[in-house]
C-alpha cells in the first residue's frame, strides 16, 4: 500500500486494469508482449521475486493545452498491473524489457539445463 502512494499524487485514485498479453516463441526466447498504450515510461516497473514476474505501469493522459475543451473522453488514467508465474527453467538474470509503440516486450531466455553431475563412489 505504501509503495502505491509514492507513485500517486495526493488523493489520486485510479482504476487498476489487467493489460492484455500475447506470449510466443521467437529466436529461442519466450516473448511476452503486453499492451499498454500511452504509459509514462518512468512508471514502468518490472520485477522478479521468486517465481513471480510482476509488471506495473501508470498511464497518465498528457496535459492538453488550455485552449482545448474536452468534448468526449473514453480514455482514462489507469494503473496496469499483471503478474506471471515463471517456471524454474527461466533465467532470472537474462530478462530484457523494451517499451515501444505502446507494447512492453519482455524477452525471457531459458537457462541451459545443468548437466547431470556424476558422483564418484568411494570404495
Amino acid at each position: 500500500m505504501l509503495e502505491k502512494h509514492k507513485l500517486f499524487a495526493k488523493n489520486e485514485r485510479m482504476p487498476t486494469i489487467l493489460p492484455v498479453a500475447s506470449i510466443y516463441d521467437q529466436n529461442q526466447k519466450i516473448v511476452l508482449a503486453i499492451e499498454m498504450a500511452g504509459v509514462d515510461k518512468s512508471t514502468i516497473d518490472v520485477c522478479v521475486e521468486g517465481n513471480i514476474l510482476a509488471i506495473k505501469a501508470i498511464k497518465r493522459k498528457e496535459n492538453i493545452s488550455g485552449e482545448y475543451q474536452a468534448l468526449y473522453q473514453e480514455r482514462q488514467n489507469v494503473e496496469y498491473r499483471r503478474s506471471f508465474e515463471l517456471n524454474a527453467e527461466v533465467d532470472r538474470e537474462g530478462i530484457e524489457a523494451e517499451y515501444k509503440n505502446g507494447i512492453l516486450k519482455l524477452s525471457l531466455t531459458l537457462a541451459k539445463r545443468a548437466q547431470p553431475k556424476k558422483i564418484e563412489i568411494k570404495t
Binding site: P15, L18, D25, Q26, E62, L71, Y72, N101
Partner: protein, 156 residues
C-alpha cells in the same frame, strides 16, 4: 503459535472502490455497444475491436487521441471527409512468428475501424497526425467558415 500479518487494505476507507473496479472491468467486457456515443458511428462489420478515443475542441481545431497499441505507422489509415474522421487499419501478428509458436494470445489481431463525427467541418488538407507510445494524436483544423464568429447584435 504463528503470527498472521494484519492486512490493512482500503476496505474500511473505500468500501465501494472495489465494486467500482469490478463494475468498470465488466463494462469493458461488454464494450461493443456505442449506442451511448454521440460522436461515433462505428460499424462492427468485419471488425471486433475499436480504439478508445478522446475528443477535444478549441476555437480553431479539434484534437483527437486514440489508443492504438502495437502498430506500425503504415498499418494505420486516417481519412477525413467533411466532418467525418475515419481511423482504420489492420493489426498484424508478429511477422516472424508462426502460428504454432504462440502459447497464448489475448490481444486482438485483425482489422479495426472507427468513424468519428465531429461537430464542425474540418480542413482535410491541414490535418496532422502523430503516433507515439501507442497513442495516435490528430490535430484537425476547422474550416474557416466553420469557426465561431462573433456577431454583434444591436439592441434597439
Amino acid at each position: 503459535m504463528s503470527l498472521v500479518p494484519y492486512r490493512k487494505n482500503n476496505w474500511l476507507s473505500d468500501p465501494l472502490g472495489e465494486l467500482e473496479n469490478l463494475h468498470r472491468e465488466m463494462n469493458r467486457l461488454f464494450d461493443f455497444s456505442f449506442a451511448n456515443n454521440p460522436f461515433g458511428e462505428t460499424t462492427l462489420l468485419g471488425s471486433q475491436w475499436s480504439p478508445t478515443i478522446d475528443i477535444h475542441e478549441s476555437k480553431d481545431s479539434f484534437l483527437v487521441k486514440a489508443d492504438l497499441p502495437g502498430l506500425a505507422k503504415d498499418e494505420i489509415e486516417i481519412s477525413v471527409q467533411d466532418n467525418n474522421l475515419i481511423i482504420k487499419g489492420e493489426k498484424k501478428k508478429e511477422h516472424e512468428v508462426k502460428e504454432e509458436n504462440y502459447y497464448k494470445t489475448e490481444r486482438f489481431y485483425g482489422s479495426f475501424y472507427r468513424t468519428i463525427q465531429l461537430p464542425a467541418l474540418v480542413d482535410d488538407a491541414k490535418v496532422e497526425a502523430q503516433y507515439k507510445d501507442g497513442v495516435l494524436s490528430l490535430t484537425l483544423p476547422k474550416r474557416e467558415d466553420a469557426k465561431p464568429k462573433q456577431i454583434k447584435v444591436q439592441i434597439k
